[in-house]
Symmetry: C2
Subunit: 351 residues, 2 copies
């Protein structure tokens, strides 16, 4: 095994995260709730969105940027929608409530669109798009990212974030389809992970301010992320931001706070979660059989020369989950070092 | 002026299209309705989706693939959703009813998600995403394309179409933002237009079955369209297809009928239109002011070297609309020739 990695179990990791949050004044139940979702991110392989973020979260809470005792409430509601005010609480708490509300509402409304404002970074998009799936619903999640690393197509002013989309679709015997993607070629979390691991980025992830390829992740703050498909990815980042941010009265464009470089300002993060109750549209078992059939048709497709397997969105996370629950979550040495420093600072036992 | 082009007014074009549909048995009011939407496509510059499609539509109607007297009906409804059965009518008729239903429903439900099955090709996605905008709502449209030109990432079996997304967002003093994009680098309509114009395609639009670039649009049926952002665009095409197709009981995957090469089989086309009533989320004027501000921030951004202007999605269509309503719609010679042949066949006066 790589000496630069140590594996920890999901249970250990979750307990450590919860202790850290309790140490800075979050209630035990909220701490357990956030820790469970953050660990879930690590278990499915969303390495830039789990415990990796813990030191930053703690720093921002200590800086007063995040409310540790939020009153998360439904501000507006109509039969097909709700707007939730997260009261600047941790995004995980806010989004779990939003997703559960969407699911409950979609039982009778068929489709429930729940907008969220005054929230914070909530980890990987797939967490929330997957919640309706457990209730035989499709989940659709959009968010405004917490730092602008993207310009309009042809521009230099960083007015857009990597605004992600995630969609979770229940299947029958097959694992669910779970797409989770930034609208940029690479998510900024991947850039941060590459920097921490001392890796070089492939060309196409970022450009510098002259339009040339930028491959050193330590120089990331001198450059711009590139959207997928050029102007198309720019368009997607823009409209997802309008839906998750502007529509909800959350930050978008110049109002987005760079939470990597600011420990005191609330982000007013916006999200959307839509729960779509499949059985309202057609027979649930027939739907699931159709999804299974499609999955198998895709998996068993003829392949281009040199391709070893055709994967469905979420398939690799699904496999990683099984493996990591079994044999632990690999944490690279620089991350372990920062978590040890955090433990010392918070006077809790290290991992 | 290019001798290979002739300009016709929107009024002339609309009248011609309507006459063609009446000549094959469609009622005068339905024909006017379809002709108005098809002309709107040409006016905004969606050249692959307007009158260009008329010969094909006529051929399929004559072949019995499309029902010219459909009973378009709401099959299922709940407070946040409806499912419409288009009874195999022309997609324009079905989608106009679906969009109007979504708008009416969103007045009280806040957000209305309307799925559609047993429909047909309905022209450009922007037409329907724009309809809610006129009522101070955001429109979100998804569809399953009517021919599979895309494989799963790494695959060769064409199980996916260019499944587009369109989002229309009302602004204040600025023109609305209207994104309309295929999940492929190029829509198949653009490939068809390039073939008709005798143009070469840029590398990156299509590959052949060995994975090599394909640039001759006349060889399009030997190749595959490429998704935007590689596996990400494949993921988007897949989940948009699940939402617009599978969820509604419409065609998806192997069930998609190639309407370019089949004049007799109903396509069972699926679409989704979502109307999002902005005023249910926040003050409408504040929302519009925020959108205007974002548009201006983007337009006035600093630019990369060599870039002359930064555009918003829909801006070029908006400009084209003004120009074409003023000075006419340019029709290339091969298209005019096919429309003349159609006029002769249907015994109506040519354009």
């Amino acid at each position: 095994m790589n000496p630069q990695l140590r594996k920890v179990s999901a249970i250990e990791l979750q307990a450590f995260i919860a202790k850290a949050f309790i140490a800075i004044g979050i209630s035990a139940s909220d701490a357990a709730n956030i820790a469970e979702l953050m660990t879930r991110a690590d278990v499915v392989g969303a390495d830039g969105h789990g415990v990796f973020r813990l030191p930053q979260y703690v720093r921002r809470i200590k800086g007063g940027a995040v409310n540790i005792k939020p009153d998360i409430r439904i501000e507006r509601a109509a039969p097909g929608m709700a707007l939730i005010d997260g009261d600047n609480g941790m995004g995980h708490l806010v989004m779990r409530i939003a997703a559960e509300h969407a699911i409950a509402k979609a039982r009778t409304s068929g489709v429930a669109w729940v907008g969220v404002k005054h929230s914070n970074h909530a980890g990987p998009a797939s967490l929330y798009a997957s919640m309706p799936v457990e209730h035989d619903m499709i989940g659709l999640y959009l968010a405004v990212g917490n730092a602008n690393h993207l310009a309009a197509w042809g521009g230099l002013d960083m007015l857009l974030s990597t605004n992600p989309i995630a969609v979770g679709v229940p299947a029958g015997k097959e694992p669910p389809i779970v797409l989770d993607m930034a609208t940029t070629v690479a998510a900024y979390g991947k850039v941060k992970t590459a920097a921490q691991r001392g890796e070089t980025m492939p060309e196409g992830w970022m450009i510098d301010r002259m339009g040339k390829a930028l491959t050193d992740p330590r120089r990331a703050n001198e450059g711009l992320l590139l959207p997928i498909g050029g102007y198309k990815g720019y368009g997607l980042a823009l409209v997802f931001g309008l839906l998750a941010g502007t529509l909800n009265g959350a930050a978008m464009g110049r109002d987005v706070v760079d939470f990597n470089n600011d420990d005191t300002t609330p982000t007013n993060t916006g999200h959307v979660i839509v729960a779509i109750n499949v059985a309202m549209f057609r027979d649930l078992q027939e739907f699931k059989a159709s999804v299974d059939e499609l999955i198998r048709d895709i998996r068993n497709s003829k392949r281009l020369p040199g391709v070893d397997a055709i994967r469905l969105p979420g398939e690799q996370s699904h496999a990683k989950r099984a493996e990591r629950l079994q044999s632990g979550i690999p944490l690279p040495a620089p991350l372990l070092k920062s978590l040890d420093a955090l433990a010392a600072e918070l006077k809790i036992s290290p991992l």
